[in-house]
Amino acid sequence: MARFTQTFSSRNAPPRCDCGVNGKSAKKRRLPDLRGFVLPALAFAIWWAVSAVHGGKGGLLVTPEQVWHTTWQQITSGALAKALGASLAREASGFAIGTVLGLALGISLGLSRLASRMIGPSFDTFKQISLFAWIPLISVWFGLGDAAKVVFLSLAALLPVAAHTCDGIHAVPRSYVEAARVFRYTRWQLVWHVILPAALPSIFTGLYLALIYSWLATLGAEYLLVAGSGIGNTLIDGSENFRMDLVLFGIVVVGVIGSLLSGLARAAERAVLERRGGASLKENV
């Protein structure tokens, strides 16, 4: 549907037929749209002007140079690498564990009616409890150290994966299953060749959300659980030492990592789904 909108909108000319006359592609070359840069450029200019006049004196209004200086210092001193390494390692382990468990749970909930009946409602309820409310309990039950953080992150990743896997399997059209029955697929073949591929877009949505939620949870865990090293800790330290430049630096890093992660997830999804020629059902976050 989105493709139609782009193709027929009044901004573009109708697509030319690619007759392969000169071997050139039919893709029209357009100037990159620079209008998106206007707003940030304006904001940056205002920031520069105001901070040049009022700021830079150790207060909250820091100049762009200060932020740049802090950024450079964090990168070169290796502090950024250390913090990011710790955060991403935690997130990766939490994400991996949560995804594996979530897939297992989601598949069993999706395929088995009994499991869905017994575990489904409890899982549904559990899913809707705000994740961060568990942090105080998790930190008391799992002690200090990284165990508590990884448990929390696994939980953050598990919920969307299980939920979307289960939903994806439930959404498989009956016609597919009936067609497979006609062809006398065994139960295993049914699952592996029909159901899972049909549920794949939904599973990928779940994985994508899991990645995002576990990144969010990483930050939250670093704020609320025992200190260690991590980018969340850098942010909180910045706010506790009233260093706005460090906070701004941290925000930019967090944003960049967030976009890299979601880009990664989208690319993976595209790679797998394009091979199958399916359309993806994305749920907007």
Partner: protein, 280 residues
């Protein structure tokens, strides 16, 4: 759900004599009805047993009876109502503000290509930063008072609301737009009579997501810096080493989040039309 069960019963009915069929059916349906309670009951039993046998220190996992007693205590002393109302008030204000803002922003982005070209890239960049990433920034900027909570919750709600609205507006089938052009609808009529009704299901999902995010943000911000509210109760209990208070407060947070989520879910389902599928 009914397919296989019905099939099985039909097969069974031809083999089992009449009076036993009724009994078997009854047991089966009873088991089916009670099945969802099996897991929670087992967990609570395990919890109670663990405390009785002392497998876990009572400071770390208070017995269920104690948590219940604390819960009753909270309700009776009025603390529960007071803190719940404060939390609800915060989340509702922030949620409404954020969602309305998101709907407006998303509508503007969806309807005007120019606006979208200028604003969407910056918005996308801001979206990449999770809600929690803004917390230290806002802590420095506005301190630990009420504005911090409202701003954070509103931001948490605004992002999904905007994105969903945008998607809803964009996903209107082009055939409908063209048909409305054929019939000579004005731009305003097109928006009200064609675009909005098509976008409503996606909007409903967006509103539900916005609430989930808003509730999440509320809990975090109350855990970090608050003098009242449910998150504050959790922190208070933890500081005083009263885990039963913490657990009671967590249960309440969960229950409220669950209730409101369910309500929004029901609303969303009514606005969406589902497809029949193999496993439901």
């Amino acid at each position: 759900m009914s397919d296989t069960v019905t099939l099985h019963l039909q097969t069974a009915s031809s083999q089992i004599p009449t009076h036993r069929r009724t009994v078997t059916q009854r047991w089966r349906s009873l088991g089916w009805a009670l099945a969802p309670w099996a897991l929670p009951a087992a967990l609570i039993a395990l919890w109670w047993l663990g405390c009785e046998r002392g497998w876990i220190a009572p400071q770390i996992l208070p017995p269920p009876a104690r948590v219940y007693a604390t819960f009753v205590d909270l309700a009776q002393s009025g603390d529960l109502l007071h803190n719940t109302l404060i939390s609800l008030q915060r989340v509702l204000c922030g949620f409404v503000a954020g969602t309305l803002g998101g709907l407006l922003l998303g509508a503007a982005l969806g309807l005007s290509r120019t606006f979208e070209a200028y604003v969407l890239p910056s918005f996308n960049a801001i979206v990449q930063i999770p809600v929690l990433g803004w917390l230290p920034f806002l802590l420095l900027l506005v301190g630990v008072g009420e504005p911090l909570k409202y701003i954070l919750i509103a931001h948490a709600a605004l992002v999904p609301a905007t994105l969903s609205t945008l998607q809803g507006f964009r996903n209107v089938p082009v055939t409908l737009i063209e048909a409305s052009r054929v019939f000579g609808y004005t731009r305003w009529q097109r928006i009200v009579h064609v675009v909005l009704p098509c976008a409503v299901p996606t909007l409903a999902t967006g509103v539900r997501l916005a609430f989930t995010k808003a509730w999440l943000a509320l809990v975090v911000v109350e855990l970090v810096a608050s003098s009242e509210g449910l998150g504050y109760l959790i922190v208070y209990g933890r500081q005083l080493f009263q885990l039963d208070l913490v657990m009671a407060a967590v249960v309440i947070v969960g229950a409220i989040g669950f209730a409101i989520n369910r309500a929004l879910d029901a609303l969303e389902r009514r606005l969406r039309r589902g497809l029949p599928s193999a496993f439901r």
